[in-house]
């Protein structure tokens, strides 16, 4: 029931946005004057910054950070355009290779952007809406407020939670990266009223920068739809959104969806999307992010992600990834579909040699030996140095 209402609210956003441009209150989305370089004020805040500095030192040196200067400059550029050059100076952006939708920001100005987020957004406006929202939490210093609140609870209770989080994180499913992140997880999850404040300020940045504000709602809707598709494919009903990393620290609710809808209708905003610009800037990385996504073994969710990206124009990379996804699941009907996706990919980009490989393997597995062998032969002619060339040669000789 709650879900149905949520989806209804999210879809109604699009309608409302065009209808209600009239009632704009100019003052509501005014961005507060920037206070310049900020330093921690008291003991709590200095402690929090020390922890964040230590975390950042670890993060800076990890190999999971993507160093590509072009991609980093681009993401930083979108952030700067969103929040303005002076605010932007206070942030260090780290793009990390984690195939999960999430972004976060610590009180000392460390912004973490997951590759899974970059894969899922389709335009500069969508990216700006997330980066702006995270920056708003930072500017409003929400983490400090949470830290103070958490300290007023029972100390033993707090430590039990901390130790529990640390123990659960060792050796297990490793996206947390280190225990410190898990411990701070509680400090960094936000309250409902803080979400509203960050939404309001986030929309103000987007509006001021001339982005199309409804893009923000479209991102949330996409992530919620993806979670539904994952659940449906796994035979589950009535999904809640705790499985989504971003929502674990950013509670979502009916109330929030309504608030977002309301804000999107009132914010003045512009009409800049930046779809082509975004595609061009991320083109080199998209195939790698898609490959990371494919390894998650989430057929429903990944199929939705690829489908949603395709709404803004089909590409050879997307069709190839879909072929890989279907071939990976490997039901007889999937193999037929996969071969079609590979063919489609080759129509769009005849130089995408890997599509020949995928098509050959899909056909071989469906029992179409002659056709499959032909496709693999074509692949081997085009890519004789492929790392599995010897294996494929042996397969088609049999």
């Amino acid at each position: 029931m709650r879900l149905a209402a949520l989806v209804a609210a999210a879809t109604s956003l699009c309608v409302l946005a065009t209808a209600a441009q009239a009632q704009v209150d100019e003052g509501e989305f005014a961005i507060p004057p920037y206070e310049g370089v900020y330093q921690p004020q008291d003991r709590d805040e200095r402690g929090l910054w020390t922890m964040a500095d230590e975390d950042e030192r670890v993060l800076r040196d990890t190999d999971v950070v993507i160093r590509d200067p072009a991609l980093n400059d681009y993401v930083r550029g979108v952030l700067c355009r969103t929040v303005g050059q002076d605010r932007c100076e206070s942030v260090r952006v780290y793009i990390v290779r984690v195939p999960i939708f999430n972004a976060s920001m610590t009180p000392n100005g460390t912004m973490r952007v997951n590759s899974g987020l970059l894969l899922r957004v389709r335009s500069e406006a969508e990216l700006a809406s997330i980066l702006g929202h995270e920056f708003a939490h930072f500017e409003l210093r929400h983490t400090l407020a949470n830290y103070r609140r958490s300290r007023t609870g029972s100390d033993i209770g707090a430590w039990a939670a901390v130790l529990g989080a640390a123990a659960a994180n060792y050796g297990g499913y490793g996206y947390g990266h280190n225990a410190q992140v898990a411990i701070l997880g509680g400090v960094y999850s936000f309250r409902r009223n803080q979400e509203s404040e960050a939404d309001a300020l986030g929309f103000s940045y987007i509006a001021d920068a001339g982005f199309r504000p409804i893009a923000a709602a479209e991102v949330w809707q996409g992530v919620m739809d993806e979670t539904d598709r994952t659940a449906i494919d796994r035979g589950r009903r009535s999904p809640r959104y705790d499985g989504v990393a971003f929502f674990a620290s950013h509670p979502t609710s009916m109330e929030r969806a309504e608030a977002l809808a309301d804000l999107a209708t009132r914010v003045p905003g512009g009409d800049y999307d930046g779809v082509e610009e975004y595609r061009r800037a991320t083109a080199d990385w998209t195939p790698r992010f898609l490959a990371d996504e494919l390894a998650l073994n989430d057929f429903g969710g990944t199929d939705y992600v690829i489908e949603r990206l395709g709404e803004y124009g089909q590409t050879a990379d997307l069709l190839y990834a879909r072929g890989e996804l279907y071939r990976g699941r490997g039901h007889p009907r999937d193999l037929v579909n996969a071969a079609q996706f590979y063919r489609g990919a080759l129509d769009l980009d005849p130089d995408l040699h890997d599509a020949w490989r995928g098509m050959g393997l899909a056909l071989l597995r469906s029992g179409e030996f002659a056709q499959g062998s032909d496709a693999l032969r074509t692949y081997l002619e085009l890519a004789p140095e492929a790392n599995d060339a010897a294996m494929l040669r042996m397969m088609i000789k049999e």
Partner: protein, 195 residues
């Protein structure tokens, strides 16, 4: 009293399991592994980690699984996973299918390792035909970046017999450890047979 209970609970959560006694595997004696007919004859002593990584799996190490991790998988049938599920609801592991091609195995292993061990990146560097257990098989090498931010290299040798997967896999940090014990792993592979 309630606080005391919480303390105990916290202590239990971080204490290493007392049932984690490992077993020494003697050198030069044939031993069957992974609850299957797969048998090897090690030339040096190994430690068997008592906690099974999966129902058709077994884990050996010399210095600890983070430094040298040898995994055996035997008689993995259609619908089986390589490892025990870490979170069946949110991140289920991929299942083996008996009609998989040998060349599909690197992708299957990649997905399994990413989910079960939390590898951040996985790059297959070579895939070659080989003989394993007297059958045509596949040998592939890979590089990973673990959730502990350590770069590792790995080798896997596998074959599918009557629709069941048999595989041996070695993973160790690229720095020093991988090369140091590579020959020990190759010796295990060479000694492998169906008992």
């Amino acid at each position: 009293m309630r606080k005391f209970g919480l303390l105990i609970a916290a202590a239990l959560l971080i204490a290493p399991g007392s049932a984690m006694a490992h077993r020494l595997i003697d050198a030069n004696e044939a031993v069957t592994v992974a609850r299957s007919d797969l048998a090897v004859v090690p030339q040096i002593e190994w430690n068997r980690i008592s906690q099974r990584p999966g129902s058709n799996a077994e884990r050996w190490t010399l210095d600890g699984e983070l430094l040298n991790d040898v995994l055996f998988f035997g008689e993995v049938a259609s619908g089986d996973t390589l490892f025990r599920e870490v979170n069946r609801r949110e991140t289920p592991l991929p299942q083996f299918a008996s009609d998989m091609l040998l060349v599909d195995l690197p992708d299957f292993v990649e997905s399994s390792l990413r989910i079960a061990k939390g590898a951040s990146t996985f790059t297959t560097t070579s895939v070659e035909p080989t003989q394993f257990l007297g059958q045509g098989g596949v040998r592939f090498e890979f590089e990973t970046l673990g959730s502990d931010d350590l770069r590792r290299k790995g080798i896997a040798v596998a074959t599918i017999i009557d629709g069941e997967l048999f595989m041996m896999l070695y993973e160790a940090p690229s720095l020093y450890f991988f090369d140091r014990n590579r020959a020990d792993f190759e010796q295990l592979v060479a000694s492998a047979h169906l008992g």
